[in-house]
């Protein structure tokens, strides 16, 4: 299984090498903006998503990441700029609308209904049925089998698809949601902070599934505030701050350190180091922050 996966990855990486950009982006935003009353939540954001590529959206709390995904996922409508799917301009009026256009969103906290069995969650909203008119009934066994198979293909080994999904770990739940989106033919997969509430090991697991989704040809939008998670898997990086874009890079144009520096902002880090020193913070931590500051300044 493991060797197989590596094989597949090297294969795909070779294929990716010439960077064959499709002339038309799978999804593209051009100068998109959104106001809530007199509050500007998002202004002038431009980004693109392609097949088999991961576009990372980075930003701190309140940077406008949630607003951005809500627009793409159809929960809110943008009021400036354009959103294009395969070159065609669209404005989604509901999550269903976005889903029908092939955009699936995996939310950090509301990806699943905890008390429901895994297989019911997997097929929720797109149940398989047979029969006529009002007598349509669920193909329970078929759905259970598919759930089990799809999750196994994602490398998730489950004892029982009948158990409530709330019993799974946070990482596993994310993976079920990702597997679900992949199975239902999503072309664009939006992942909203999938690693935010997870430990190091679990985060690694989720990152691996992001790559698997990419290798299956999906365009992935990976929202995070952690550059260490974004950099290893991302192909493009959009940095948001206070509702506007402060940078949009291809992977070849930026390093992890630069990305971290851009994210944190050198001045803020210096201020933090100073503050910690004044508070009598632990020496090691202060040194670490100071080293970071030096690092940031060097890259500027």
């Amino acid at each position: 299984m493991n060797a197989n996966r590596i094989d597949q990855q090297t294969l795909l990486q070779n294929e990716q090498d010439p960077l064959t950009h499709t002339p038309v982006h799978l999804l593209s935003l051009d100068a998109v903006g959104k106001n809530y009353g007199n509050i500007v939540a998002l202004r002038d954001v431009t980004m693109a998503v392609d097949n088999g590529r991961v576009t990372c959206v980075l930003g701190d709390n309140g940077a406008g990441k949630s607003t951005l995904i809500k627009i793409i996922a159809g929960l809110h409508q943008h009021d400036a700029g354009t959103l294009k799917i395969m070159g065609e301009e669209r404005k989604f009026t509901s999550p269903r609308d976005a889903l029908d256009a092939g955009i699936a969103t995996v939310y950090q906290d509301l990806a699943v209904v905890p008390l429901m069995p895994i297989w019911r969650n997997f097929f929720l909203g797109s149940e398989l049925t047979s029969g006529f008119g009002p007598f349509k009934s669920l193909n329970v066994q078929q759905m259970k089998d598919i759930t089990k198979k799809e999750l196994a293909e994602m490398g998730i080994d489950l004892r029982d698809v009948e158990q409530p999904i709330g019993q799974l770990s946070g990482g596993e739940r994310q993976c079920v949601a990702i597997a679900r989106a992949v199975y239902f033919g999503a072309k664009v997969l939006i992942l909203d902070e999938p690693t935010a509430a997870l430990g190091v090991k679990q985060s690694g697991v989720v990152l691996r599934y992001i790559l698997q989704a990419r290798d299956r040809g999906l365009g992935v939008i990976f929202i995070t505030h952690n550059p260490h998670h974004a950099f290893p898997v991302g192909d493009r990086f959009l940095l948001l701050k206070r509702g506007t874009s402060i940078g949009y890079y291809d992977k070849k144009d930026i390093t992890l350190d630069e990305l971290t520096a851009q994210m944190a902002g050198g001045a803020e880090l210096a201020e933090l180091a100073h503050e910690l020193q004044q508070l009598g913070g632990h020496n090691d931590i202060v040194k670490e922050v100071q080293a970071d500051v030096a690092d940031v300044n060097e890259h500027r």
């Binding site: 999550p95 509301l110 008390l115 429901m116 909203g125 019993q167």
Partner: protein
Amino acid sequence: MTQTLTRPPVVDERVGRRNPLQKLLGRPEVGALVGAIVLFVFFASVSQTFIQPNAFATVLYGSSTIGIMAVGVSLLMIGGEFDLSTGVAVISSALTASMFSWYFSVNVWVGVVLALVVSLGIGYINGWILMKTKLPSFIVTLATFLMLTGLNLGLTRLIGGGVSSPSISTMDGFASAQAVFSSSVNIGGVEVKNTVFIWIVLVAVASWVLLRTKVGNWIFAVGGDENAARAVGVPVKATKIGLFMAVGFCGWVLGMHNLFAFDAVQSGEGVGNEFLYIIAAVIGGCLLTGGYGSAVGGAVGAFIFGMANKGIVYAQWNPDWFKFFLGLMLLLATIVNLIVKRRAELK
């Protein structure tokens, strides 16, 4: 712990490892079922008459009048809402049928059909206001409850000039409607009311819908996590409004039974019954916060209610004690449900 260590690594081998008893105990209605058996044994031992077929038919009839409504109320509770207007809505439905047929002197079936429209309409309005305002269902249906109570009394006096609807027993279609909504079937010398069969059919249909259809999946989802359900494309609004209308339908069935069991309805009746339906659903293992429960559970809850209600009479105790027992049972049943559920989930 040792069990975990000895588990073979093959995936499918592990599926059967979950103790079937634990799996059974994980079902929502098990707590209630245990309670029902205990209660049955208890009353059977204190009263000789309780286990006689005729008495048992009476217990079943009593259970069915609660159980028919408990079907709808259970589904609604699984869907994450409740309805305090059910008790008086039953009477509204019965009054609509009788007053309309009487006032316009038409076949009672016209009134029966109109009552169905009114009942579904009340459910629709409840659901629509709820979804539109996003107020808690407690407030919305409490308002409906008060308004319907007032309308029942006010309109009955305005149209019929009394506190009860005029008798419709001599009108066209009364006999056939009575045969449908309130008749008895003789089974081995025991008269069993047909509401018992209507109840069983409703429970069967509700269980099928809940466990084997798309809509059932949606009901669990909107009750379990409304936002998650909406995000994956479940029509939350339609599902919830549909649930309120299903409660309306059950109210219509019971309302028609109440009307045709006699030939008139008291306009002030029904107040307080909404709690009995909710109690039946809760005793039956439906989670008050939604997302968990079963139609069978609601039926078992109603059966417990019926047994306690009639059992006290057969045991020749003072019926004054009934409410106390009901409260005690509600408390015990919910605690048992909680413990059973936790045990099963911890494994």
